[in-house]
């Protein structure tokens, strides 16, 4: 039985701030910082937005593009490292907001930036074993960066939702595999407001080792080479890492063009790869093959080999805003409003 993507939806908040504006506050050349990270601006959630509202918007966009009865959805998994509650699931609110309750299961996932793709793998298993007809996997974050920290220039907000099933699939998932080790490159303790990171340690032994290892194993498993794929999507904590990773693996700039969104919206953490894949699907044609590798600190990578099917021609992509639509018509913030929006100002 083929298992794959039946529908998808994306959401990015409307507000933006530039690295230059952030740097101005901290006495740092923010423009140079932005160039180094390959980030022109980043998205910022409104004070009334969080992972639950972002995940809901993405899920509603996903549902509006297909004719699936929400009562046929058997699982809702929301992957994030910024769930609004420590105890109480985000998934129940999302499921209620798309009227999928009550005959379904739900759970919140966390694996730094790859909890959304972990949700896709879980749904694949449940659909493939016929335990459920459809499952939803969502990756969404309102990521945190301490004031003045390097992360503040990239940590942003957004998410995408995927309906996984075996009927009318617009993209078949040919294979998925993961590569996981205990590598403490980035973490946030219970109750701590901002994450800590290992600086340069987040590069070679963490991001590059895990994505590279998962990618090579996927090539071996599929007997494929980079030139067999029209598109590639890699986790994108900044614009620099995925560009270098793609080059090292043998992909060219054209192949990562649609999957690389960080320069325009920043690092959406759990939303990063799901949003990159959504932008690829917004532009994909039947028969095109997509290479996807997510990365989550701590650390692990989920890799996917995906083929777009003929079904995408009949699929109603226009029923919801595309990722490109979400990059237009933005509202710019100065640092003062940004600090207020992000709750960085302690009151009284």
């Amino acid at each position: 039985m083929d298992v794959g993507i039946v529908s998808y939806g994306a959401y990015v908040p409307r507000y933006r701030i530039t690295p230059a504006e952030i740097g101005k506050t901290w006495g740092i050349d923010g423009e140079a910082m932005g160039k180094g990270l390959l980030i022109h601006m980043k998205s910022v959630p409104s004070p009334d937005e969080d992972v639950i509202t972002i995940a809901t918007e993405a899920a509603r966009n996903m549902m509006s593009r297909c004719n699936v009865d929400p009562k046929h959805i058997g699982a809702v998994y929301v992957g994030s490292e910024s769930h609004p509650y420590a105890v109480k699931p985000s998934g129940t609110v999302v499921a209620e907001a798309i009227r999928a309750t009550p005959e379904m299961t739900a759970a919140d996932l966390e694996f730094a930036c790859k909890a959304g793709t972990a949700g896709i793998q879980m749904c694949m298993g449940l659909v493939g074993s016929k335990m459920i007809r459809y499952g939803i996997a969502i990756g969404a974050d309102t990521s945190q960066g301490a004031p003045g920290d390097a992360l503040e220039y990239s940590a942003s907000a957004g998410g995408a939702a995927y309906l996984i099933g075996s009927e009318k699939i617009i993209a078949k998932i040919n294979k998925t595999l993961s590569y996981t080790t205990d590598t403490p490159d980035f973490w946030r303790r219970e109750g701590a407001p901002y994450p800590q990171h290992g600086g340069r340690f987040t590069g070679e032994p963490a991001y590059f080792k895990h994505i590279g290892s998962a990618a090579k194993r996927l090539f071996d498993a599929m007997g494929s080479r980079p030139e067999d794929y029209q598109h590639a999507v890699f986790h994108q904590p900044n614009g620099k890492f995925p560009t270098r990773m793609a080059k090292e693996l043998g992909f060219n700039d054209q192949q990562i063009k649609f999957g690389l969104l960080t320069p325009f919206i920043g690092n959406t953490y759990s939303g990063a790869v799901p949003l990159g894949l959504a932008n690829v699907l917004d532009n994909a044609r039947p028969g095109e093959r997509i290479f996807v590798v997510a990365y989550g600190s701590g650390a692990g990578s989920d890799a996917f080999d995906i083929t777009v099917t003929d079904e995408i021609e009949k699929y109603n992509r226009q029923a919801a805003p595309t990722v490109a639509d979400r990059l237009k018509d933005t509202l710019q913030l100065d640092y003062g409003r940004y600090a207020k929006f992000k709750g960085k100002i302690m009151m009284g």
Binding site: P13, Y15, S46, E49, T53, V93, D325, K340, G343
Partner: protein, 134 residues
């Protein structure tokens, strides 16, 4: 407000679920137990009805003195929205330049945080309105 009271309002707040009179066809939001027009004739005939999520600004006002819940959003617009089903619904208008708000402006409903009373309380979610996607 108690947790239970918020919870009882979930269908309306999350999904704009109101009621439709099975006798005269009038739509109500929030939901009603009987139709004020048909009265006795509507007993047992009020059906759940989910409003369409699009409408236009019927009228609005800009709020400069907000409650603590909305302090970070002020100034913000509160608007009466004429939904595509004909019903008037009052809600906050967000993600918008206040200078560009006008009567007749097309909007759509989204789920947003209505407020959290404290950092240990439940977070309450419900509908607000944003400008319709271009």
């Amino acid at each position: 407000m108690s947790v239970a009271r918020h919870w009882r309002e979930t269908p309306g707040r999350y999904n704009l679920v109101g009621t439709k009179c099975g006798n005269c066809g009038r739509i109500y939001f929030p939901r009603r137990s009987i139709c004020p027009e048909c009265r006795r004739a509507s007993f047992g005939k009020m059906e759940q009805y989910m409003l369409k999520d699009h409408g236009t600004v019927f009228t609005y006002s800009v709020v400069h003195e907000a409650s603590a819940d909305n302090n970070n959003l002020k100034p913000y617009a509160i608007a009466m929205i004429r939904m595509d089903d004909g019903v008037l619904v009052t809600g906050q208008l967000v993600d918008v330049d206040l200078d560009k708000v006008e009567i007749g402006m097309p909007v759509r409903a989204v789920l947003r945080k209505l407020g959290d009373e404290s950092h240990i309380a439940t977070i309450n979610y419900g509908y607000k309105f944003v400008p319709k996607d271009k």
